[in-house]
């Protein structure tokens, strides 16, 4: 869901996706950046992402973008997460104990 969310606004290359994940999470996701690429490739095989190759500064660059089914998947996953998050937040918020006397 996070990768899809990062690609929702505009297409990005791999480094751009990872940089956005790091910036938006406040460096909370500290994982080897190279391990994000298998995720991108798997999402592309699943049809929620598509990619294109281009030339940039003399080297090959792969840019990822969200497909229509990716946008649908993101909407569904975002909705499910918001419901779950609201439920957990509600429980954690707590209420005062009723008086028993």
């Amino acid at each position: 869901m996070l990768v899809l969310a990062v690609l929702a606004e505009c297409p990005r290359h791999g480094y751009g996706v990872i940089e956005q994940l790091r910036l938006r999470s406040g460096d909370a996701f500290d994982l080897p950046e190279g391990t994000v690429y298998p995720v991108l490739h798997r999402l592309e095989r699943a049809g929620v992402l598509a990619s294109d190759w281009s030339e940039h500064a003399g080297r090959r660059r792969r840019t990822y973008r969200l497909t229509e089914s990716g946008r649908v998947a993101l909407t569904e996953q975002r909705s499910a997460w918001e419901s779950f998050s609201a439920a957990v937040g509600s429980v954690l918020q707590g209420v005062p104990c009723p008086r028993t006397t």
């Binding site: 290359h13 080897p32 950046e33 190279g34 298998p38 080297r59 090959r60």
Partner: protein
């Protein structure tokens, strides 16, 4: 050497770690773009060139870690020491199944069913032969499952569970082999599918591991229905039983030899730091 000497060295290691991936050139090109871009960004915030490269590489991850991530995502087959041992076990298992089919089983099918009683020594020998042959077969199954993705998960546990069920059945009731070989066939169907999904490059011959025993069982049922050979005391047809086992075992052994030779000749130690999983 280029201005990105540390990155260049890293990319050589990464390429070796991903050597079995069919799109290795694309993966390395993508890594190159990432590392050069990241180095540039780090230089722009004040790091010197060497430090920027070192930081970019540290963030990207060790080649073995990246290769493992691709393996778990279903993008690469990983030759392991286990896979090589599994290749040897497959060849041994093939000999075992053929031995059972050509020698022991037809004899027992004839002698046991047409005699007054089943000799205990022969029953024990059949159980031991069935157990050891199936156990060797499960070593191959384990190697295939690891080779498919580097670790167990989901269908791999199901596959091995079916394999163990087959081992128990083929040990305790070897004579009732169809009950044991059917779960074994399903276990291999799951395993071969898993290896194929990870682009490990299995060939059609490996599917024999999944279809051999169903073919043998089907032949047995057809011949039993047709009344093939003399009828035994329980009204069954032992030669039909033996013929089904023979055909199943020969086909299964062909699959075992095919995949056994392939796994046996892999070189798991070629890049031990990058791809060794066990």
């Amino acid at each position: 050497m280029s201005s990105h000497d540390m990155i260049d060295s890293y990319l050589v290691e990464l390429r070796a770690a991903l050597q079995r991936h069919p799109h290795v050139d694309d993966l390395v090109a993508e890594a190159t773009d990432h590392l050069v871009e990241c180095t540039g960004r780090l230089e722009s915030i004040g790091h010197d060139h060497s430090t920027a490269q070192a930081l970019a590489l540290a963030r990207y991850g060790d080649p073995s870690v990246v290769a493992r991530a691709f393996a778990k995502a279903g993008g690469i087959a990983m030759p392991t020491k286990t896979a090589r041992v599994a290749g040897a076990a497959a060849l041994g298992a093939a000999a075992g199944w053929l031995g059972l089919a050509v020698g022991v089983f037809p004899y027992l099918a004839t002698v046991m069913w047409f005699s007054d009683g089943w000799p205990g020594a022969w029953v024990l020998m059949l159980s031991l032969a069935g157990a050891s042959t199936t156990a060797a077969t499960l070593v191959l199954l384990h190697g295939l499952l690891l080779r498919g993705a580097g670790s167990y998960s989901g269908t791999a546990y199901l596959s091995m569970g079916l394999g163990i069920a087959a081992l128990v059945l083929l040990t305790l009731v070897t004579w009732a082999w169809p009950f044991g070989v059917v779960p074994l066939a399903i276990a291999f169907a799951l395993a071969v599918r898993r290896v194929n999904a990870s682009l490990a490059g299995t060939g059609p011959a490996e599917w024999l591991l999944a279809v051999a025993w169903p073919v043998g069982c089907a032949l047995y049922l057809v011949l039993e229905t047709l009344g093939f050979g003399p009828v035994a005391e329980f009204g069954n047809y032992p030669w039909a039983n033996a013929a089904g086992f023979l055909v199943g075992a020969v086909l299964f052994s062909a699959g075992l030899v095919s995949i056994g030779i392939r796994l046996r000749h892999e070189a798991p130690d070629a890049q031990p730091a990058a791809i060794a999983m066990d």
